[in-house]
Amino acid sequence: MKGLIIKDFMCLRRQQSVMFIYTIIATIILSVMFVLSTSHGNISHVMDGLMADKGFTSSDVEHIILDEIIVFMLLPFALVLDVSAVILADNKAGFSKVSACMPITLPQRVLARFLSIALFSIIGMACDLIMVILLALFTDIAGFMTLLGIMVSLASIMLIFSFLTVMYSFLLGSGKVDYAQGLSILTIIAAVLLINIKSIISIFKTGSLTITSYMNSLNSLVDFLSNKSYIMLIAMLVVCGLCYLGTVRIAENKRGII
């Protein structure tokens, strides 16, 4: 099983290494630029303007900035957890017939893929940690724990996406990993919509989305990601378990095909 995980890392290194180095460099540069801009540059001026002219509170401004940071923090995860690169590489090589002949059971083969994904996320977390430390040390945007909470939440979301992609790619076939990713996104969107169905209905009932209600939604989202990351972590573990069981079941049913 360890050999399969090593092979997955080799695939990731081969497929994504150049992009990964670019992303790390870009993330660090963006973080530094962000730090400078929020202290002395344009972001600082815009935020001051928003508070003076538009009636935004300092909390609103912090949340808007955090919202942007979330996008930066998502980049390393999006890259290292692009499990499609590994699935497609296996598919292209016809590796499934090699792995099927190895002294490994089918559930162990699936587990190896899930463990690989979990280990990939550690690389993403390491990159994000650099950014978190930089932002916590040199800006007043948010404390270390808040940023760490966001990082854990983002890692959990991306892991959920990857686990779903693995399950759907077993279901649809490894050649249709693009569709598997699309289905994973749709599943996550459906879950988010279902969880927030009350708020969505109330927005539709009032018939308009005011700047205040938008800011409230944004603030609550950022607060949720930073302060309630344990919920995302638990959700990720539950999805991981369900996806593992589902994938093993699908793999057993499609034995000989995948």
Binding site: I6, A89, A93, I104, Q108, G256
Partner: protein, 281 residues
């Protein structure tokens, strides 16, 4: 002792059915698995390796049920496919790192010795290898974990005669060890005739012939006669016949019996290819 024992396996894919396949491979022998493309050779191999779930029947390897102990059994099986399944960027060194973390008996010294013996560079990505080199790489992997059973699915197809001969020599060296057994699937019967002790002939998912190669070759013969004489030959002895311009060639299933019954007719020995062609015709 039989290393492989297949008892009445059936697998129905709808458009193709592996139908009640049974045969066994004794320890220390080379079993040639012959059949046309799509005859069911690969499906049978998949059943032996427990890659597919059979609808009915049982497969025992080293006396163990593959349905229950498939993973443990595969520890002692080396497999070579017609196409290399390794990622093209992988080097011999990469494959060694992966395999030593998979097989308990992986011997990296043996692996690198094989790479050297086969003149395969260990630092070059295997995607740059020729077809012959790719096959040799697979064989090196299959032989580096002390496999007692080597299963090869069309390993020589698409190779030039020189590389094919080299590979046959490697297989001969492998079976020198008494406890080494080989299942060699191929539609190139010439290779099997040189190497095999046992032969299993499969067609449309059914085993038509199984047994000792020499006995099969001794038993079968091609009887040459005139068209009018065909009616005289017992139908029980005729496998199939081929009407030619100057007479009829008949594959008979008992050469000795034919010789006694029809002493005036010419009976020539048949090779595996001819036997296969007459059976499937």
């Amino acid at each position: 002792m039989n290393v492989v024992e297949i008892k009445g396996i059936t697998k129905d894919y709808g458009d193709f059915k592996l139908d009640n396949v049974s045969f066994s491979i004794p320890e220390g022998s080379v079993c040639g698995f012959i059949g046309q493309n799509g005859a069911g050779k690969t499906t049978t191999i998949k059943a032996i390796l427990d890659i597919i779930k059979v609808d009915s029947g049982e497969v025992f390897v080293f006396g163990k049920d593959v349905a229950k102990e498939g993973a443990a059994i595969r520890e002692d099986i080396g497999v070579v496919f017609d196409e290399m399944g390794f990622h093209e960027f992988m080097t011999g060194k990469d494959i060694n790192i992966m395999m030593k973390n998979i097989y308990k008996n992986w011997n990296e010294e043996v692996f690198f010795d094989y790479l050297k013996k086969f003149s395969l560079p260990s630092r070059k990505p295997c995607g740059n290898f020729s077809r012959g080199m790719r096959m040799k790489l697979q064989i090196a992997v299959a032989l580096s974990h002390d496999a007692k059973l080597l299963i090869m699915d069309e390993p020589t197809s698409g190779l030039d005669p020189i590389v094919r001969n080299e590979m046959l020599q490697i297989f001969r060296e492998y079976v020198v060890e008494e406890d080494h057994t080989m299942l060699l699937s191929s539609h190139i019967t010439g290779d099997l005739e040189k190497l095999a002790d046992e032969v299993v002939f499969i067609n449309k998912g059914r085993v038509l012939l199984a047994g000792n190669k020499d006995e099969i070759l001794e038993k079968h013969g091609i009887l040459k006669c005139r068209k009018d004489d065909l009616k005289k030959i017992s139908e029980a002895l005729i496998v199939n016949y081929d009407i030619e311009a100057y007479g009829v060639s008949v594959l008979v299933s008992d050469r000795d019996a034919c010789g006694k019954l029809y002493p005036d007719m010419v009976i020539e020995p048949a090779n595996l290819e001819e036997i296969m062609l007459y059976y499937v015709r």
